[in-house]
């Protein structure tokens, strides 16, 4: 008996390593003594601090915002005093302006979460405003402000919403635990989304290696015929937006600048749906998130509910600290995560995981050699590009050629690097090519 599961073309199948943390229930982490809240936790304009050094703030109080269209406000994640606003290391690798709050230990709310009006009776515009005010961004990792994603331009009708529960990155189990433990709330979040956009069809895509999540979500969605839980074949990068749309709806998003909404779809992470539920039904701003702390360099891998701004060092401490020969610390999964050079970086809205990998888990950094034209990367590329050729173009500075071969379509998933026997730094080359092409375009606006 075999069930043909839905999937997409290309991709890879790395060992999922989720057994390390999958069975651990979400735990509330102890209250941090200090939180470090960077003003850039989202794609778009940085927020501007609305508090001064020395000012007392309460949990959930808005401390930074901006008038810019693409921006999300930031809230104090603990109650206490603002002790400094200065540059501090950020998981992106650079230093950015950060608001530092010292806890008063009382953890008092600015406004206690409470059950408000039935969200489905509110108007869409009102709900969008609440989502913006709660500071919600895409919690899958990209951190794009959610209210912008929920405001499709005129003339682009949306007919389906997909909740992304694929969690295809190895090690990460934060979304999985959330789906198992908070299925009803996620479904409620999806119903709010359907209501905001006036859409009839909602899908929840989950990879088949999470049967518990599939059954929990199916049960929670059973009384809503407009919501369908779709079981997906285990394949990386199933959780990439375009691959998810292709798999579930068989629609193909055209090359950039086209977006999923050009094919009538909005995709949201399950964690985002949960945050939307909290923001709209409970009037609770985004001040914490679920983070998987895992890897063989961690004594007790866990799924923690961490306040935003908690330092990685503290989160690692809650999990028993390091063990063995630690080689690498990542924010996010091993495929697309960002390597960290210090544990003094804070948990931000886009932190889905903190991974501490030992020497055995990291591929040995070999010197990159020349492309041997084997074509494995071409088969692995889920965007159906030719990474070998584009990589060489970028390496030689042939930016026009790289653009003609659609380097801008690259989603930087890392599948090509995973399979490359020549150990070429393909994603890094693509990132370089993309940034150089985009910089050139910014310099020469169309005449």
């Amino acid at each position: 008996m075999s069930i043909k599961l839905k999937t997409f073309l290309g991709g890879i199948h790395p060992p999922d390593q989720k057994q390390l943390s999958a069975s651990h229930r979400i735990e509330d982490a102890p209250l941090p003594k200090r939180v470090y809240l960077p003003l850039t936790q989202h794609i778009g304009a940085p927020a501007i601090a609305r508090v001064k050094v020395g000012q007392k703030v309460l949990k959930g109080e808005k401390i930074a915002d901006s008038e810019a269209l693409i921006c999300a406000p930031i809230h104090a994640s603990i109650s206490g005093t603002v002790v400094d606003i200065k540059n501090h290391p950020h998981p992106s690798g650079s230093e950015v302006p950060t608001i530092i709050i010292e806890s008063d230990g009382r953890d008092l709310w600015f406004q206690e979460p409470h059950n408000g009006q039935d969200p489905l009776e509110l108007g869409p515009e009102e709900i969008r405003g609440m989502i913006r005010e709660a500071g919600i961004v895409g919690l899958g990792g990209a951190a794009f402000p959610t209210h912008v994603k929920l405001s499709p331009p005129e003339g682009k009708p949306i007919d389906a919403i997909i909740l992304n529960g694929a969690e295809c990155e190895p090690y990460l189990t934060a979304d999985y635990r959330l789906m198992v433990e908070k299925a009803k709330e996620i479904v409620q979040g999806l119903r709010i989304l359907l209501h905001v956009l006036g859409v009839e069809r909602g899908y929840i895509g989950i990879e088949a290696n999470k049967p518990e999540a599939i059954s929990a979500m199916s049960k929670a969605a059973s009384s809503f015929p407009q919501i369908e839980v779709v079981s997906l074949k285990v394949r990386y990068p199933q959780g990439a937006e375009k691959q998810l749309i292709k798999t579930i709806l068989n629609r193909e998003v055209p090359p950039p600048p086209a977006l999923p909404l050009d094919v009538g779809v909005v995709v949201q992470n399950v964690g985002t749906a949960y945050a939307i539920y909290e923001a709209v039904s409970l009037r609770k701003p985004l001040i914490e998130r679920i983070v998987t702390v895992s890897g063989r360099g961690i004594k007790e891998p866990k799924n923690l509910r961490l306040r935003l701004g908690t330092l990685f060092a503290e989160a690692i401490g809650y999990c028993g600290g390091f063990q063995g020969k630690v080689e690498k610390i990542l924010m996010g999964g091993p495929m697309m995560g960002l390597a960290q050079y210090t544990t003094r970086v804070p948990v931000i809205k886009g932190t889905s995981g903190i991974l501490v990998l030992t020497k055995e888990e990291c591929p040995q950094a070999a010197e990159a050699s020349h492309c041997i034209n084997c074509g494995l990367c071409v088969r692995a590329c889920p965007m159906r590009l030719v990474p070998s050729l584009i990589g060489t173009f970028c390496e030689k500075g042939l930016l026009e050629e790289a653009e003609a071969y659609h380097v801008l379509d690259c989603i930087e998933c890392g599948s090509c690097v995973y399979v490359c026997p020549a150990k070429r730094h393909l994603v890094h080359l693509m990132k370089y090519g993309k940034s150089a092409i985009l910089a050139k375009k910014r310099k020469q606006p169309k005449a």
Binding site: S92, G93, E95, A339, A365, E395, H428, K431, Y432, A436
Partner: protein, 272 residues
């Protein structure tokens, strides 16, 4: 044999006739000024003028859209010649040279992490601004070396590029290639310059580099000509005011102020 020679010779003759006719009929009139100017320009096609190579610049000159001094790479004599061809008054230009505003050699500047990616500054900078702990320092992968059309830059053994002042024409190609903005142009006659690009001060600089400018301001205070200013924690020398007295060089606690041509000597002083 004869038939073969005759056939090939005949074919060659007919084709030559065709080519000869084509070159007459389709001849493109080129202003003799343009070709004369092209022969005077350096021919490196460095792009420093903003036109597509030297030929494009020559056309712009003749069309009156550009001034000869916009070519940073030409010698004074060449500019003078070009001005003569164009029939405009020649005003001598200040010779500028590129200088590296960083002394953070591998043994002097700290790194944040072990970098294993592509050996190119513009790729390295994508990872949190590069591996150097100082956010303003030279990354040392030599994007400027590759960009220099005059072969004036080479990579030193200590991870910093070396600029040959005699070969540098001040075209600015290296400046455009550098993602850190750590190369800047200064007048070739400038006596002293302060080779640090950091916008931080004091402790923050010391934590990441042994040879950084601490923005202490002693040079500013000591300068009798008020030629030095602190701009965003960078000490800048105004070449118009600097008389080269060297008081600032003595006062600098880091001993980093140096003459553009005397890297080695000054580096030796700072050790002792």
């Amino acid at each position: 044999m004869i038939a073969a020679v005759a056939t090939l010779g005949g074919v060659a003759f007919i084709l030559a006739l065709g080519l000869g006719l084509a070159s007459r009929i389709f001849a493109v009139e080129q202003d003799p000024k343009v070709s004369a100017i092209i022969s005077l320009l350096p021919g490196a096609n460095c792009g420093g003028c903003g036109y597509a190579g030297c030929a494009g610049f020559a056309q712009a000159l003749v069309a009156g859209q550009a001034a000869p001094l916009e070519c940073k790479a030409s010698s004074d004599a060449a500019i003078q010649e070009i001005s003569k061809i164009l029939g405009i008054v020649y005003v001598p230009k200040e010779k500028m040279i590129a200088k590296l505003f960083c002394q953070g050699r591998n043994d002097k500047a700290k790194v944040k992490y072990l970098y294993q990616g592509i050996r190119d500054c513009r790729a390295a900078v994508l990872l949190g601004g590069g591996a150097k702990a100082c956010a303003y320092g030279c990354l040392g992968f030599g994007s400027c070396v590759k960009a220099c059309p005059f072969g004036a830059i080479s990579m030193g053994p200590e991870g910093l590029p070396k600029i040959n002042e005699n070969a540098c024409t001040g075209c600015g190609a290296c400046i455009r290639a550098c993602p850190k903005g750590v190369i800047q142009l200064i007048p070739a006659r400038q006596m002293w310059y302060i080779p640090c690009n950091s916008r931080q001060r004091g402790k923050a600089v010391r934590q990441v580099c042994d040879v950084g400018c601490l923005a202490c301001g002693l040079c500013v205070k000591s300068c009798p000509e008020q030629a030095i200013t602190l701009d965003d924690n960078r000490a800048l020398i105004d070449p118009q005011r600097c008389t080269g007295c060297g008081i600032c060089v003595e006062r600098c606690p880091q001993k980093i102020i140096q003459s553009p041509g005397e890297m080695k000597e000054v580096a030796a002083v700072s050790k002792g």
